[in-house]
Amino acid sequence: MSTSLAVDGVVQLVDEHGHAADPAVLPPTAELLAGYRAMVLARRLNEQAGALVRQGRLAVYPSSHGQEACQVAAVSVLREDDWLFPTYRDTAAVAARGVDPVEALVLLRGDWHCGYDPTAHRVAPQATPLATQLLHAVGVGHAARLRGEDTVVMALCGDGATSEGDFHEACNFAAVFAAPVVFLVQNNKYAISVPLARQSVAPSLAAKGAGYGMPAVLVDGNDLAALSVTLSDAVRRARDGDGPTLVEADTYRVAAHTNADDPARYRTEDEVARWLPRDPLARLRTYLIAEGVLDDAREAEFAAAADEMAAHVRHGVSAEDVVDPAELFAHVYARPTAQLAEQEALLRAELTEEAAR
């Protein structure tokens, strides 16, 4: 669809009042309803994880509150054999992909660096060093192409991450090799405390696409319909061998960077308040109710699913699932070196002694 590949202007299909200017270009209603349900779960996951942090049961949680449309759309446009490359903020997307959120939260609970099997769901570990994972995404995509597979890779990053050299190298490699990658930049206006104006003085982050010879789209990141259509187009191009696309999602980080952050130091409550009416859930809800496909029963059903997921998360995160410290040595090399075996033996002896005391 050509509208979604227009660089000038923001692609928006459902406005903040839940109104669709041209319902004909919207995804099927069933799809939107499923997307709404997924956003309800994503929001609940953000809330539940936040609560667990306040209770001291999670060390830290970077919330995607306000960005749920991105979290859901990034995943819903993928096939099972496609890959997702999420960041630390994209736990909800990881969960939407089918990864048990309890496994995803292992990172933030501090048990291990990655709690799920990346190959099982084709979800890379949530990346902490900014923009670095975008290159891995290109490599995964290029490898698939070399084998003649039509796998597509969805690679996420933030507005801040676009300033890193690795963002540049990833976009350029993807373009030069026509790698099947969709770069989704969630422009939530902040990198911790640093506002967008300090990352870029370009008219948009999508404007960077031109420099790579890559189609780029600026889309309302709180409009699930617009995101779905735009990302689907981009995925189709990638799948067809037409190379990567850069998608900038115009959204907002409603919550603090993490619980450890103090946004009062760098932004006003007013600013946050101005974004609340653009909430991705509210507008789609309005639209779906108006369309007559969302009613109280359905809402209750979704809420129940969210409750169930939240209960599962609460229970799972609280379970004392202690990792054997010896595992620290187990994976460094496929076969532990003599040196690591020695160090493991030392630790084991200490632990035995500790236990005996």
């Binding site: 060390a59 933030l108 501090g110 048990d111 690795d166 405390s193 130091r265 990792v323 040196q339």
Partner: protein, 328 residues
Amino acid sequence: MSGVTMTMAQAINTALREAMAADESVVVFGEDVGALGGVFRVTDGLAATFGEQRCFDTPLAESGIVGMAVGMAMNGMRPVVEMQFDAFAYPAFEQITSHVAKMASRTRGRVRLPMVIRIPYAGGIGGVEHHCDSSEAYYAHTPGLTVLVPATGADAHGLLRAAIHSPDPVIFLEPKKHYFTKEEVDVTAPVPPVGRAVVRRAGRDATLIAYGPSVSVALAAAEQAADEGRDLGVVDIRSIVPFDDETVAATVRATGRAVVVAEAPGFASVASEIVARVTERCFHHLEAPVRRVTGFDIPYPPPKLERHHLPGVDRVLATVDELQWDAS
């Protein structure tokens, strides 16, 4: 001592303030160092006090930050930049090794880079992956860099003043587990020299050699050993490069036994270097080989397991026990 009680973060903040007040050419920049005052609040209030020209946020790019600092230092400024966490200094590695370290040599001393790269450093805070690396070996191995690691608030203050004053580029490693440790700091004390270790505790039986976050561990171990009748000295290296052979070797010669304590993985590390050079210099005074208690040779563990990795009092004392006491 006319000290004021403050955290290490405040001691560093104070040093930055003093340096900025004293010298217009001192500028502070990095990620989140402006309005936020840094994720550890080390630069708190500097932008407000000195203006956005003197303390400012940059785009999110570490090579960019260090590279821009190189240029500013080439042109008369004394930049003090912050890398947000140890592992996030790696994107700047090329700038650090190929330029920061080499510019003076490259230009036969005509272009010196008086700049400081501050790095919140090492573990012990339950941080997730990439937030707790002990990266000193990379810098210490790179000729041209000065590498300082304070262990106390007073040294954090004093050594940072010295670092900013230095004509050479300095990697300034701040043990983040001590950021909020309170201590009496005399900000009027003379600026300590770069390149001098300090004996934190005298001891006759054996010497613990440590720096940064491991100094407090060594001191606690010495305390406990004293209860058990063993008199351990503690040397705080403070300045990894230049290295103070004199102080260290003198202490080890006196005791004949030494253990090096450091958080970083031991292989090809600063601890290896200390073992090697102490042994070279004190061989015939040694009753036992100099031993190391370091982090394991593994990637930094997840928060819940870090206590197993970090050198602790027990592991230090167990190693001291192995220093062949029967032999002497």
